[in-house]
């Protein structure tokens, strides 16, 4: 099992998609730092809001990486090769899930940390660092952890759908269709179902302000647990399918 995990972690690190997305995010961080430095107006005390603003990008990246972690293997036929080395399918899927979700969590956290450092440097040089006390640091850290957790949960959604559909595009298409079309329709036509919408719960989990999401009727932790439960259910269903279906 250790060898399988090591192999999957190494593969995740080596993937071109991961490298490209990291490069793009680093580019965005550098550009943000330069713009902030040039405008000379940035107050570092607003960092938590900036980190919240990264959530959409990081959640999208998490979904893509989660989906492609298994979807690319199905597409290339590599699942057959792996199973001829480790026929216990539960272990194979667990290793892939562990590598993908851990990778997305670490990546999301690292990207936010780099963004924070870039903004801190820019603010220290040509802005304001007033108000950056211990409470600010705790709040910033909390936001970064919640955003990283959310992108990890959405990576689980992507992984589960791609595993069941045996294709990355299935996960991306279903995800886009559900989140953008179905949830918006439900929100307009059946507002009483709002507590079960992923996007609203994700918003509450990141913003950490239940008062701004009165229809949900749950706490920030409750929203996070709900999302995690949906993600775990999806992964369990994908695992059951992976263990029982033929690999042709």
């Amino acid at each position: 099992m250790r060898g399988l995990l090591a192999s999957e972690f190494r593969r995740f690190r080596s993937r071109r998609l991961v490298k490209v997305l990291i490069a793009l995010e680093l580019l965005a961080i550098v550009a943000t730092g330069v713009i902030v430095f040039l405008t000379q107006e940035y107050a570092l005390v607003g960092l938590p809001d900036v980190l919240m603003g990264t959530s959409l990008v990081l959640v999208s990246v998490g979904w893509i990486l989660g989906a492609s972690a298994i979807g690319a293997d199905w597409h290339a036929g590599h699942v057959t090769t792996i199973l001829s080395w480790e026929p216990r399918r539960g272990r194979v899927l667990f290793a892939k899930i562990a590598a993908a979700l851990t990778g997305v969590f670490v990546l999301s956290l690292a990207i936010q940390a780099l963004l924070g450092i870039a903004l801190a440097v820019a603010a220290a040089g040509a802005g304001s660092t007033t108000g950056t006390d211990a409470a600010w640091l705790a709040e910033s850290t909390g936001v970064a952890l919640r955003v990283a957790a959310l992108s990890t949960i959405f990576a689980g959604f992507g992984f589960g759908l791609a595993s069941a559909g045996r294709n990355t595009a299935v996960a991306l298409g279903v995800g886009f269709g559900y989140l953008v079309i179905v949830e918006n329709l439900v929100r307009g036509l059946r507002p009483q179902w709002t507590p079960w919408l992923l996007t609203d719960n994700a918003g509450l989990f990141v913003v950490d302000s239940p008062i701004d999401f009165p229809l949900l009727g749950r706490s920030t932790i409750g929203a996070g647990l709900y999302l995690a439960t949906v993600g775990a259910t999806l992964l369990l269903a994908a695992s059951a399918l992976f263990r029982t279906r033929d690999v042709n």
């Binding site: 060898g3 192999s7 190494r10 036929g77 057959t80 199973l83 001829s84 080395w85 026929p87 033929d246």
Partner: protein, 309 residues
């Protein structure tokens, strides 16, 4: 007989749209003894790859049993470290190098980098080991697949069409590799449609048609089963040769300028001695037996079942 692959009444049905079913395996029986090269032949769609997928636990049989090194698919993890395989076209990550691909696979079972170097060298990919696999030719990808199958230093190798995409030199290399591996005491189970290769390489074979075994045994026995065997003799003086053989009580007749002798190839020495004692020296002597292609076409009806299964 110590068998490494045992298949009993193996059946596999696939459900198709509108509830239709296609039968890929229809009660297949198979026993592969330990050691040597075992050829697994059949037309496209006969069920060769499905059999291999069942053995490796990739597809679930609809009925019957199959065991690899004594383990059914549910216990395959106990013996998988002793089995190397290629199923159809070997798949590796195209943007990784051959070395990285093999290292990733090797890490699963704790196979080290030294062994990766060995197998890359063994299949002739050492010089291109650090190039991306997507730049490889089909034949090179096939060799990489063979390297992956050899990585665990397995006692059983299951190779599904290993010569696919290889040029003539590559086919010869794979043939020699299979012979070498078979002679080392390993069992090489190879499915192929290149009959000539199997005839030259395999010690035993099984022929599959419509999901069932239609012949199995040592290559020579399969080739001679149901076929008259004999010897073909070429002489300058055919009439005299025919007379001498007749006087010696050997069944012989003229056939297309040659003498067809009704003795098994093992009795060739008796024919040469009989003729030489009477001052006749033959210019050609060869076994008169069906080749694998003829036998194969007779047993399988000659038709591919691809698309109907």
């Amino acid at each position: 007989m110590d068998t490494v692959i045992e298949v009993e009444g193996l059946r596999k049905e696939y459900r198709r749209v509108r509830g239709n079913r296609t039968v890929a395996l229809d009660g297949l029986d198979l026993a592969v003894p330990r050691g040597g090269v075992f050829g697994f032949l059949g037309p496209n769609g006969a069920g060769k790859t499905t059999t291999i997928r069942c053995l490796l636990g990739l597809v679930r049989p609809s009925g019957g049993r199959c065991r690899l090194l004594g383990e059914e698919p549910s216990g395959l993890h106990r013996v998988i470290g002793r089995v190397g395989s290629i199923v159809e076209s070997p798949t590796m990550y195209p943007r990784f190098s051959a070395r990285r691909n093999l290292e990733l696979l090797g890490r699963i079972s704790g196979v080290g980098r030294a062994r990766v170097r060995e197998v890359l060298d063994e299949v002739g990919l050492a010089e291109r080991a650090d190039d991306q696999v997507k730049t490889y030719s089909l034949g090179m990808k096939q060799r990489l697949g063979v390297a992956g199958a050899l990585l665990k230093d397995p006692e059983v190798l299951i190779l599904d069409e290993p010569a696919n995409g290889l040029d003539p030199a590559g086919i010869v290399e794979v043939r020699e590799l299979m012979r070498r591996l078979g002679s080392q005491g390993r069992t090489v189970f190879v499915s192929s449609h290149i009959l000539n290769e199997v005839q030259q390489t395999a010690d035993r074979l099984a022929i599959l048609a419509k999901g069932r075994q239609v012949a199995t045994g040592p290559v020579y026995e399969v080739l001679t089963a149901g076929h008259a065997t004999g010897l073909l003799v070429r002489l300058d003086d055919v009439a005299e040769g025919l007379r001498i053989l007749g006087e010696a009580g050997i069944d012989a007749r003229v056939d297309d300028g040659l003498i067809r002798v009704g003795l098994p190839p093992a009795d060739a020495a008796r024919v040469t001695r009989t003729l030489a004692d009477r001052g006749l020296y033959l210019t050609e002597l060869r076994a008169d037996e069906a080749d694998l292609e003829t036998v194969f076409l007779e047993l399988t009806g000659g038709a591919s079942t691809e698309g109907s299964r």
